[in-house]
């Protein structure tokens, strides 16, 4: 199990950030890293516990299409969304995402995305001790050596 957390504070009201995250028309405008498009017609989002999530991501450079799917686990608008990601077709990226929307004030929202990627049970114990950052330090050390 690998845990990664991201946090951003946006100059936007909480409802607006929630809508951007949950409205397929808006998801199509920002989801995915740069150079990747998520076509509107590929997006299905059934926003209730057990609801299915489906979308394709298209690599702009090659046109390669990567289908994605998942399941909504918890919905508490406009503050919390939890979903399971089925991962990439090669089997990586499977995990659970917890997205929280916190109103700092009426026009400012802090978004936190916590990803817990699934690996097998043997990894769990050590991963919970936060080896992730140490792994990166080790890699930096190796790169510098």
């Amino acid at each position: 199990m690998v845990e990664i957390e991201f946090a951003r504070t946006y100059a936007a009201p909480r409802q607006l950030v929630w809508d951007a995250w949950t409205d397929p028309d808006q998801i199509a405008q920002w989801w995915g890293p740069r150079g990747v498009t998520t076509p509107r017609e590929s997006i299905e989002l059934d926003l209730r516990p057990g609801g299915r999530i489906r979308f394709d991501m298209v690599d702009d450079a090659t046109g390669a299409r990567y289908p994605n799917s998942g399941t909504v686990l918890e919905v508490d608008p406009p503050s919390r969304l939890v979903y399971a990601d089925d991962g990439f077709p090669d089997g990586t990226g499977k995990g659970t995402a917890t997205v929280t929307f916190t109103a700092v004030d009426e026009r400012t929202t802090t978004l936190r995305v916590r990803i817990v990627a699934d690996f097998d049970e043997t990894v769990r114990a050590g991963a919970e001790q936060g080896w992730g950052s140490q792994l990166e330090k080790l890699a930096e050390h190796l790169a510098a050596a």
Binding site: A11, G91, W131, L138, A139, A145
Partner: protein
């Protein structure tokens, strides 16, 4: 979005890295090859058998190779699986960092700022 290493292989790598003693061994080997005796000096009161056991786990994960020539069989670090594991993490991180940047830009556009 090129497919990376399979999760099974990554699980073995992450599993091997999940132990602090094994990470200490790897960090030491990043400096130079070392014998079991030298590695045992890293951790207070650790037995040579315990070090050998950790080395076996690291060997199975492909993170370490052992010399065949010298009687001390010095351990040598193989960095490739670590590079794959960090590439996987970097891939994941980039995905979200860039998505969240784009979300910020989208929210700015929505508000006409």
């Amino acid at each position: 979005m090129a497919p990376l290493e399979t999760p099974d292989r990554l699980s073995v790598t992450f599993g091997a890295l999940a132990d602090p003693t094994r990470r200490a061994i790897l960090a030491r080997l990043a400096e130079s090859d070392a014998s079991v005796n030298e590695l045992a000096a890293l951790v207070p009161a650790i037995s040579l058998q315990a070090v050998s056991k950790h080395l076996q786990v690291l060997e199975r994960a492909g993170l370490v190779t052992r010399g065949r020539v010298s009687r001390q069989r010095p351990a040598h670090l193989r960095a490739e699986p670590i590079a794959e594991a960090t590439a996987w993490l970097a891939h994941y991180r980039r995905f979200y960092e860039e998505s969240l940047d784009r979300l910020g830009e989208h929210l700015s556009r929505l508000q006409g700022s």
